[in-house]
Homo-oligomer: 373 residues x 4
């Protein structure tokens, strides 16, 4: 497995399993001179932490983050920033039962096929807990982006069939970080949150689980971020978001709906406002030709229902016998709300990397750096 | 722009603009000993070629492909395979008019923002013609995959609101390569093709354009392809498909629909058939935990309507004046049908790369190679 | 700084400063199924540890290594192996004095120029202690190589003008791991060791320091390791060895001497011994055309004298004033002996990576893996 | 073979064999806005071209270079620059004789071992002609570096035992590009050139061949180029120069001689001249801690004697029979002079890449680019 590194200039390498000693990330390529401390990372970790509302696993995860390198006197030094979280709650004995069969919807089978065996404790490397490393890195990326006036905000767009109201989706400037953080489901609308809570209550009673959609908006982006042709902004976002465990679909702007539109309706006209070129609409979701176009970036990721359910399921074991199983432990009926900050983090990581790459795209820009020396 | 390379072991680097001297690709990492000739590549190029049916641009593209290196006595040597196509039809004067304004829905504006200026002839590097390099490389990847019994087939899933019938989508084993190639729109169903042709006739009359969805299925895959965590099979497909010009959405398996499903419905039960572990359903689209799970891989890409339309549109020019434009030349009302082979090619490239990477995931597999020496 | 990752398939990412919380490495891409424990790594760490003989710094480094991930039930799982060592001995106050001037021969000045400031405590990221991460990773690479019968052994070739005797250098099969480990200077010859100890005694009395050469031999290599053209075996070794702090020269085989030889003398004739193709001589040092040729790999790295000396030196401070300095603390007159295991580790890392890459170079080899499935 | 790409931001991918259709390079990542034409590349190609003086092969290589993409209206566009040279002189029949045996000192054997067979015509991918692609790319890198006042100059330092005189090597500012280009051997000293010509006359008469050393100096470098820890300036140079066919050793600054020096002698004192920090000496060769230190960069590469000699040699054939061979055709007694421009090109490529990477190392530098937007 050599897939644990992501990014070209703002490059992260993650490591860790659900029930090993801990998890962490090495962030290599963060420019020197950025103010950074544990306190910048902790709020992101907290948003990923379970136990909020009624629908997420009560596993006590302390998630005390430690910055091990790359920061001196409160500033990044340009050297790799290593961040680590110890695993505290390791009842690996609970997992012996699942060692010998393949849970439907999980990576048990594919891990065994690929590697010959697996660390079956809590899903090992395929655990949702793996995303903790990404969130720690995402917090650093977001801090860097803020220096350039770029803000990245993700939220729950829908749970099952319950979506944010049309007026918010038609004017996303109404969606505030405060409203997102106030919702038990990170869904920035009180009514929608209540409806979704009700739906999840039902799902939970039925020993079942639900899916949903996370949306992420980035504002303040300069035009031109994204490297043609394979490292386009949307291409990198596609990789970033599909790399999150339960994601089965990704859209930019109008996404799949644009496939049913027409050119006349879908094209965003360029206009000039106060001497700046803008677009009259934003069907493109802020991406044209694989580069940021100055409008807000809008991206959505569809999450499948969490596969761990309390209902009896049929599967096979390692001896290729068909069996019925009941997965023990408490189950979250939803992971979408905890995944919101993961989507925000991955988006921030892509943007930070492309911002750095974009800096060297023009000779005149480079001269601004070197001619003053 | 350093984004023109894709892949880790089966690695391609593309180059070329619509109206430059030509376009091409360097394929580095194709294993030695694969039978390969121009004739393996030409059919893929032909499928991308316009002029089929009534809806694609009659620009005469000869697209004579030349293999410049990496093949000796009919076999790949293990060295880079360079493939080139000369541009024949270069009326760049036609494009002078568009040099000074930004076409809606195109990359004109973002290219200028990123690089300070652009090769405006025919879209330059952002032209659909750029995909020609990928198709040439995809043909080689597909040839390699065939050696391992892997088949990759893409087709038009829908154009506007007209989709393939449910019986085909419920049992994709009924979809044949022959049916795909027989349709003027690469839509493997006669009735759907006719309906779509009628719809496109209307669109064309209205000087408008249409979008659609391309679906791709890969069969014969071993389990375990995909590198956790950022180079998962679905993550790499996400990057690969979003890197295609007009793509605004990507789904694996049930995709966005799974966000509205429940765990009980969406989980695929493992079963045992003739001593082999399989899944009773394939909501996952052949990917579990980011790795191929032995079921057919199913992926869809949503294409926005082609932005070049004959209708008058409003935009701004370089002097930031708002103007109305009529883009001259003949316009395709649809690019989806020509993009089918691009989706197939990108999928093949991802699979070839991950197949190679997967080969080194286990010590016991490696010993099969070295212990015999 | 995005240069902390090395390797394509057996890929390491290092982090850590001399006086931060600790140092570590993430090894991504080690095949699953390799037996691994702390005990495999500790002996390599011990060889890097100071305090051996009379010439290395008595700083107490406990260097207790911890494997944080990637190993389950004693076997590598295929997921990233994170290894960490805490820094125990952090008297960073001692370093306040050097914060404002640039030590000759050190990276103080260039770090300030590149990043605007630096973690000046003990050299920060440019400390020799950084190599600890590489040695931990090198131990894992060496363990992997052993599975394929490949052995990597480094030793002190010369210190100042004192070199190993000609009979050993003419027949390196006489050099044993035991003899290397028995020497206080890892110089596998008693007489040479004594001479070098005497020389270092003098150097130490003179408040000065000495340089030397480390040689590394790898045996049991299959032919063909190395990727043409930029990832040739010798090219990767060149990068690997020059990445070690004080290295100023690298040679393969006859190295610089071959520039003064002739083709007739320098060419190694192929011969056939017991049905195997071999070379009658090994001027090439085991590398032909950038690939291993089946003969022992021989590589040398020249280390400059350690720049930290007790003699008064002249330099400038941050205010650009010319000053005289006396660097406090105890100084090693030599780093070469501690660097031996670093050279061995970097060589092992290059070989492990190229061994994996070589596995996918031929279609027939790949079929050995997939056809049995 | 996936080793044909070099560089992170200024990234080149080479392709081509000695006797295939042609050779070329794709340069991805050259900033937009650089003036570039064929005329910038041709002089570099000419320096690599044989037929100069009496000692290089009279094979008629026209080497007409073609820029296929990435340049518009005389400026680089930021998109990949593809450069190609057709092979004109393809008498591949001449090579049938060598198809079945392994030439000493050549890559014949290792290619067969790695790939199972080889393109034996003229050495295929391992031919010296492969460097043509690098030189084309190096010319572009050198043009870019000039925009920042950086000059790279390589020359023959020694042939066999004949070296440049001490006065030149003690003060390299005396070495001029003009003197280099005036020498038949690119050796910037008339007397040395004559002596070397005499030596080579003897070598040629003896049907033998000679080696030598190429030195390269880069001036005008800003401090700080080089990415710690594996992409240090010297590490990347090590990879770059060892990737050239016949190179067996690489040194920076005092190189191997520094291993026999002492700290007091080898340390370069910092001084202040006209308000600028400089070094009183340059034992370091312009590299401290893996970064450029503002002094001239000095690097040397040792070339083994060309292995193709007219003398009878013993070797084995594919049937493992020991045989005597006479390699037909005309042989160059020396490749060093033709390799000078290759060393210069590789050095320029490393510097261009590290210059781009260095641009994003500091937050304050980045703000110079984005805050003006």
């Amino acid at each position: 497995m050599a897939g644990s590194t992501f990014g070209t200039l703002f490059k992260i390498t993650t490591w860790g399993e659900s029930h090993g000693a801990g998890l962490g990330v090495v962030i290599d390529g963060c420019p020197a001179g950025l103010s950074l401390s544990k306190e910048d990372i902790a709020p992101y970790m907290n948003r990923r932490r379970p136990g909020r509302g009624n629908f997420t696993t009560p596993r006590k995860e302390d998630d005390d983050v430690e910055i091990l390198s790359g920061v001196f006197n409160g500033l990044t030094t340009g050297t790799p920033i290593a961040v680590m979280v110890r695993n505290a709650d390791q009842h690996s004995k609970d997992y012996d039962k699942i060692a010998n069969y393949y849970r439907p919807g999980h990576a048990d089978y594919t891990f065994d096929e690929k590697y010959g065996f697996r660390d079956y404790r809590g899903g090992g490397r395929s655990s949702g807990r793996e995303t903790l490393s990404r969130v720690a890195a995402g917090a650093v990326a977001a801090k860097l982006l803020k220096e350039f006036g770029i803000d990245v905000l993700a939220y729950t767009h829908s749970i099952g069939n319950i979506s944010l109201p049309a007026d918010l989706l038609n004017d996303r400037s109404k969606i505030t970080r405060e409203a997102v953080l106030n919702s038990s489901l990170y869904m920035p609308d009180e009514e929608s949150t209540k409806l979704a809570e009700g739906y999840l209550e039902e799902i939970k009673k039925g020993l079942n689980s639900a899916g949903g959609i996370v949306e992420c908006v980035a504002t303040g982006l300069p035009s031109g971020l994204g490297e043609t042709v394979f490292d386009k902004l949307d291409a990198r976002l596609g990789q970033a978001l599909f790399s999150i465990g339960a994601v089965k679909g990704v859209e930019i702007g109008d996404g799949f709906a644009s496939a049913r539109s027409t050119g006349a309706d879908n094209n965003d006209a360029f206009i000039c406002e106060n001497g700046e070129i803008k677009k009259s609409t934003n069907h493109s979701g802020g991406v044209l030709g694989g580069m940021s176009d100055g409008s807000p970036l809008i991206v959505r990721a569809a999450f499948k229902p969490t596969p761990s359910i309390a209902l009896t399921q049929s599967t096979v074991n390692k001896d290729k016998e068909e069996i019925d199983i009941n997965i023990e432990g408490r189950h979250d009926p939803i992971v979408v709300s905890r995944a919101v900050v993961v989507v925000e983090s991955m988006t921030a990581l892509v943007l930070a990397d492309l911002l750095l790459q974009n800096s060297v795209s023009r000779l005149d820009n480079l001269k601004k750096i070197y001619d003053k020396k």
